[in-house]
Amino acid sequence: MKAATLLLGVVVAASFFPVAKAQKPTLRVSGSTTVHPVVSEAAEVLRKDKDLAITIDTAGGSTGGINGLGDRRADVGMSSRPLNNADRKKFPLVDFHATSIGRDAVSIVVSKDVWEGGVKSLNADQFRGIYECKVTNWQELGGEDCRIVFFNKEPGRGTWEVLVKWLYGNPESAPRSNHPEVGANEEVRSKVSGTRGAISFVSTPWADGQRVFALGIQKDDGSVIGATGPDIASGDYPMTRPLFVITNGEPAGAAKVLIDYLLSDAGQELVAKHGYLRLADLK
């Protein structure tokens, strides 16, 4: 009885002490759902080859990743938007160090009925109308008589910043407007494909042309361009963004192993495999 009590006491006492000694430190990666597939596959390789312990989550998207890094809840932030002054002001003690691993474009996608109804492209003015709830029927844009259902991305998503940068110049001047909100790219695809008259925007690899359909963008001169390799590389396509992994200070230790791998030929192959442009494609 006494021995058992003693044993219980020891176990309870021991549970108060961290047992991290025995385990190797885990590299915590957090952020953008756009960067996630690439990093996740790289992590898979590194877990096997280099015996690295890596956890990855995408809570809160790019801003969630940057804040996670700032609060030391993550060691590497994944971001599909550049760092801005607000981030630096929020975490003055953190030395953000962003490494670009590729480039992505954002596509406007619509549901099948809209695509088949004849809407194939939009210009910035028309999309601003939708964003501000001034244009509410596809008829006004050359489609069939059907209400426009616009799914906006949650605040903090890198994709959202790319869109409003195209529409309004910078995220701060985006007007206040209320729409149903969606999060990850996969959720956008599922909701747009299942709703009549739906429109939203996703990272290009998710615009599959089967469940959701990418609209072309009409430039001021009337020509229409799509989110294709050459137009993204040349900068003609307006909605593109660099993809980053961010560290506090120069990458070191496990974070350096991960980032070096992402920049290597094998890592860049993963970038291309998931539909993004490699660093080499951009120059």
Partner: protein
């Protein structure tokens, strides 16, 4: 009658009095109470900047737009209320019916099977219900309500429907307990007076179990108010949806936002580091805690009433 214990028992009682049991229990109570009070105090403390900035308009203003530091929670309070009410209205009648069947009519063996099945349902993790909601309910609502022209399958109504399914087992099993706690002698007496079985249930058992059933419903309401994941997945997450007419069916089948879907969303991550925004998020959490706490306290009070009632009737008779 004085208490004279046999010597063996007396000595046993004297020897086996380990102090540490008492102390460890006291420690347990102290830890529980201080962590609860600590959490409440922390929430209050951290929401002070918000109350300074927004004042009482935090609960009366409908506009929530964090880039402009507008933090009005009314639209979310409305969302939470509508979603929970829909859930209650749909779940309570079904639950009461099911509990009457299991408590009054089913033979003991079958009742055990039914009751344990229901209790198992109550223990299913909410994310499972949420995913089932995404899989089926959204489609059903979207296609089933075509006549009302819903924007999409995500709406306050979808969330309420899903919550109704989720709280149904809780309310059923607790109502069943309430009905079973009405003494069998009362039913016998009623039958002896010539009432039919149905009349005995309706006029004797149900009225006495009513406070217990109400308490069960309030516990269900508590769960509905606090449910996050499942609601997040199907509510549509559209801010500032406060209709002119709170009972407008169009608003109910439109996407909306609840306190929990806001708290479960990305703003919690964004707010971290910005004192005022963070404080607003904590304010929402405090609001939610108060709502749920109120429901649980009311349920607890009713349960006490319920426990007292049979004794009173006995002393009267």
């Amino acid at each position: 009658m004085t208490e004279v214990l046999p010597p063996s028992v007396a000595s046993c009682a004297k020897v086996f009095r380990p102090r540490w049991i008492l102390w460890s229990c006291a420690l347990g109570v102290a830890v529980t109470v201080t962590s609860l009070l600590g959490a409440l105090a922390m929430l209050l403390w951290q929401s002070l900047p918000l109350l300074g900035h927004q004042g009482s308009s935090f609960v009366t203003a409908p506009e929530w737009y964090y880039p402009e530091k507008a933090f009005g929670a009314l639209a979310m309070i409305y969302g939470t209320t509508v979603v929970s009410l829909i859930a209650l209205v749909l779940a309570v009648p079904v639950a009461v019916g099911a509990s009457i069947l299991s408590a009054e009519y089913l033979p003991p063996g079958l009742r055990l099977v039914v009751k344990s099945g229901i209790e198992m349902l109550a223990g299913v993790p909410s994310v499972v219900y949420g995913l089932l909601g995404v899989l089926f309910l959204r489609e059903w609502v979207y296609h089933g309500l075509t006549a009302f022209d819903p924007i999409s399958g995500d709406s306050l109504f979808t969330a309420g429907l899903l919550l109704a399914v989720m709280i149904l087992p809780t309310i059923t099993t607790l109502s069943d307990d309430a009905l079973r706690s009405v003494p069998a002698s009362q039913r016998s007496a009623a039958r002896g007076l010539g009432l039919t079985r149905a009349e005995a249930v309706l006029h004797v058992a149900l009225p006495q179990a009513a406070p217990g059933i109400l308490a069960a419903s309030l516990l269900g309401l508590g769960r509905a108010l606090g449910e996050t994941v499942a609601v997040f997945l199907v509510v549509g997450r559209q801010d500032n949806q406060l209709p002119g007419n709170p009972f407008s069916p169009t608003a109910w089948i439109s996407p909306g936002q609840t306190l929990t879907s806001k708290l479960g969303g990305p703003e919690t991550h964004i707010a971290y580091g910005d004192p005022l925004h963070w404080s607003a998020i904590i304010g929402l959490a405090l609001l939610l805690l108060l709502l749920v706490g109120f429901c649980l306290a009311a349920a607890w009070g009713l349960e006490r009433v319920m426990k007292r009632t049979p004794m009173d009737t006995e002393s009267d008779s």
